[in-house]
Amino acid sequence: MTQRFFIRRKTRFPLYEINLLGAEDMQLLEVSRELGIGLNLREMEKVQNYFRRKKRTPTDVELQTIGQTWSEHCFHKTFKGKIQFNGKKIDSLFKTYIAKATEKVDPKWCFSVFEDNAGIVSFGKGYGVAIKVETHNHPSAVEPFGGAATGTGGVIRDILGVWADPIACTDVLGFGPLNFDYKKLPAGVNHPKYVYMGVVAGIGNYGNNMGIPTVNGAVCFDESYVGNVVVYCGCVGLLPLGKFRKNAQAGDVIVVAGGRTGLDGIHGVTFASAELTEKSEAVSRPAVQIANPIEEEKLKRAIVEIRDLELASAITDLGGGGLSSAVGETAKKFGCGAEVELDKVPLKYGEMAPWEIYVSESQERMLLTVPRGNLEKVLKIFEREDVEATPIGQLTADNVLILRYERVKVAELDISFLFKPPRTVRIAKYESPEFEEPDFPEPSNLAEVLKLLLSSPNIASKESVVRIYDHEVKGNTVIKPLQGIYAGPNDAAVLKPLSDSWKGIVLSCGINPSYGKIDPYWMAASAIDEAIRNNVAVGGRRIALLDNFTWGNPEKPERLGSLVRACEACYDVATALGTPFISGKDSLYNESPLGPVTPTLLISALGVIPDIRLAVSMETKTSGDIIYVVGETFKELGGSEYYRLRGILGKTVPKVQVVQAKRIFKAVTAAIDAGLVKACHDLSEGGLAVAAAEMCFAGGYGMKLDLRKVPQEASLDRDDFILFSESNSRFLVELSEQGNAEFENLMKGKPFAALGKTTRDRRLRFIGLKGKVVLEASVDELGSMWRKALSSEVQP
């Protein structure tokens, strides 16, 4: 027991000193455990040395502050640390692959990357677009509704944290199979259906109530998500770049505004930086915050007004780590110290210890620094919006963080020490696993296979989710998630954010967890290609990327090895395609009693379209039009939905031919700009057959396509492989006959072919390699199976 190290100070409020100056290794670790701060031995030793030098014992407030700041969640130790990988030394994954890709691409239109709460790119007319995607996996696992709602609330605050007005949300979710056997569920793991219902409702609850349209996303299913739900919440904002103020200085007042501080969300970051166990639900529920979107809506109004009047010198959100990270990071960023009086912080109820106040992650709070002369005006604006705002301290000139409670000094830490945790050194290993190419005869009924694919959860319509999110609020959604009366799946969303400009924002994403089971490198490459081609399909270009990693415990070398592989692909593909990363987030330690999460990289793409009138949707427009395929089809069915149907993983995963991909994207954009393209749809899960079917039932027309014309690898000698291969960088394009010469001219030198035509008869037909119809199905039947599969699963 370490109780003897804890000395209660004689104060009216709870305050402890922890005498660890003479503690031994084991005791240091026990103190770390006892306080729930999750620091390892090297880190605790660094703490011990610091206080030895200071010749005094630390308080609980100080140790908690250090614990929060040094957590994986706040400091991203793995991404910033050193890694030994198969004999190679990597000095920071982030710098070596992600930030370096952006440096190499070096786009002039990036306003702020990685620096802040969100990435910002310029949009024209003096505006910038801010974007951020967050992970909220751990909280959503133990409390699905609250976890997902506060994930959305948190990412919206990230957008407010760069002075932007939130204009759209995105959500990408990963669940276990909804029909998972209850008997196989270990103690402490919630059933996927329960998690699904809660998460889906939680996201809607926040975005809808705040009046922010949720316009893009994805839902994937995988066995490994049973114990590790994956919740990515994104937000996009708009800001006049001239109003972007980040110039705080010593003497500025620190103001906390919004919701009150309570005991919800204590140690959220340390919880998020550990594996989930059987006890997580009971132990960690208090780590999940409680959401109140209306509070944040009011906060948003006040912040936008303060921005427009340029009254504050800096802003940041209170998220992971609460005040401890917001105050510390603000002070560090502006080369200041800070003094905070913790008893000034408005509480939901009395009786919170100073350390609890400082680390609580209660929602709907923002931190602003305000020049003294503007303070009164700022407080008035908050008051008008019925938002509580309180000055709690000030920035100082001396690089020291001082916290007081009832005038008693409860913490004094050097900022330089606080932001220099010992560099993590981890070992990573990667060996290509051995897989076998399956051998099975071609099924005789390919229409049946297509129907099964369309009703498989990963491909089936997500309408039951999309409809419970308001995607129309603000009235600027030009291309919606669901297209037309048949609610077809659009590839990307297009927004028209400015009244006096036709310029649009294009949002899309890419995610391919199945490929990662074979090779995380090609999974990452495919996710980038998918995000970009979805964007390109509707008319997007000048694309910026966001990376969100959900991985297992990085302290295990194989897990970290696959993370390194994925990062390598991020660099290679992003630089080759000229698409910089502008923001990202990692969530590691996604492990449960059922094992680690399947490594899952979400790539979000933010593009622009110079004129929304050029935007293209995915549904067939009329009969008699030509259908072209652009891009080459390879025998790449490893990790495909087709193999999954047969219970096979396979070996050859889709790759990205970066040089060709770039030329294809450019050509498709040129064809769209020339006004030739009537419909465009990307080929992804389920390949050519699924993409064609989706275009058909979304528009209410049939198609007759000839597989012999598909540009393909010679070895692709089977109809089922051509139909269902998931090779990257491919599109189906609908064109009227008059446009084909010009189109073919634009496509010259790229793999493409006219496969056939759209038909009035609402039947989808494919002619096989032997010249006979090998797949024929009613478009209405296909559409109905696609639409009903998932909604029937979740209707009560």
Binding site: N209, E297, H471, I485
Partner: protein
């Protein structure tokens, strides 16, 4: 009144979130529209300076009780007299989505015998939960509603809905009586229908929420107070339509514009 002199008050409170696009719709027609926080209105007491009042969509007070209930009671308590004077003067009031819920909760709709002390109807939770989708509406009003007088009777309009509580209902025992009143007073404005104008008859998704008699919007007996669940401000421009990419030629505006235009033209003519 000259168009440029028309001044619309778009009222908001914490949770109101459709005010900006509603303002944009009025301004596109050349009218002035102020977004006013209720706190300001309580302080200034200047409601009477406005030509018309709008309760935009949103989640006032989080809709943590019945949707619209808290804001309705709040308004009645703080601004009851001003509001009454406004209605008595025949100045138009529009409630969209959450605003419709507020008007019903405040007794301003259907207001069979003038503003009622208790709500006479309710906008209950949707049979199938929250839904965001485009719906068809059939215009039912003869000529009374000042927000739709430019819309021919029987015309089919298209607008999106996005709500969890929009199922219009009367007390079961008064259904017949109240429905007759709606017809007798020409208070019925929009009913859910299909693209061909056939009434939804309660069928999903044409009637998206299970509303009694497919009711999507009603006005008061004078035709000056109007509430609807669909969002006309999200159907104002062609590019907001769900299928503009499949149309060769789009009309420049969506059907939602008719609602704003009717009001502005009415105010202009009223003098």
């Amino acid at each position: 009144m000259k168009r440029a002199d028309i001044k619309i008050c778009l009222l908001r409170v914490g949770g109101t979130n459709c005010d900006a696009e509603t303002k944009r719709s009025f301004e596109a027609l050349g009218a002035k529209a102020d977004i006013v926080h209720v706190n300001e209105l309580v302080k200034q007491r200047n409601l009477i300076e406005y030509s018309a009042l709008v309760f935009p969509g949103g989640f006032s007070y989080g809709d943590y009780v019945r949707a619209g209930a808290i804001w309705a009671k709040w308004i009645l308590a703080k601004l009851g007299k001003d509001l009454e004077a406004f209605v008595d003067d025949g100045r138009p009031i529009l409630g969209i989505c959450n605003g419709f819920q507020v008007l019903v909760e405040a007794g301003l709709l259907p207001a069979f015998e003038g503003v009622s002390q208790q709500p006479e109807a309710a906008l209950a939770n949707n049979v199938r939960g929250y839904s965001c989708r485009w719906v068809y509406l059939k215009h039912e009003n003869m000529d009374k509603c000042v927000f739709t007088w430019k819309v021919p009777k029987g015309m089919v309009l298209r607008m999106p809905i996005a709500h969890g509580e929009g199922r219009f209902i009367f007390p079961k025992e008064k259904e017949k009586e109240f429905l007759k009143k709606l017809y007798d007073n020409d208070q019925l404005v929009f009913r859910y229908c299909n693209g061909d104008g056939e009434y939804a008859e309660g069928g999903f998704p044409e009637n998206p929420n299970g509303s009694f008699h497919d009711i999507a919007g009603i006005c008061n007996p004078e035709g000056t107070v109007f509430g609807l669940m669909p969002h006309p401000e999200r159907a104002f421009y062609w590019w907001q339509q769900p299928d503009w990419t499949s149309k060769k030629r789009m009309q420049e505006y969506g059907d939602g514009k008719l609602v704003f235009e009717s009001l502005i033209d009415y105010l202009e003519r009223k003098g």
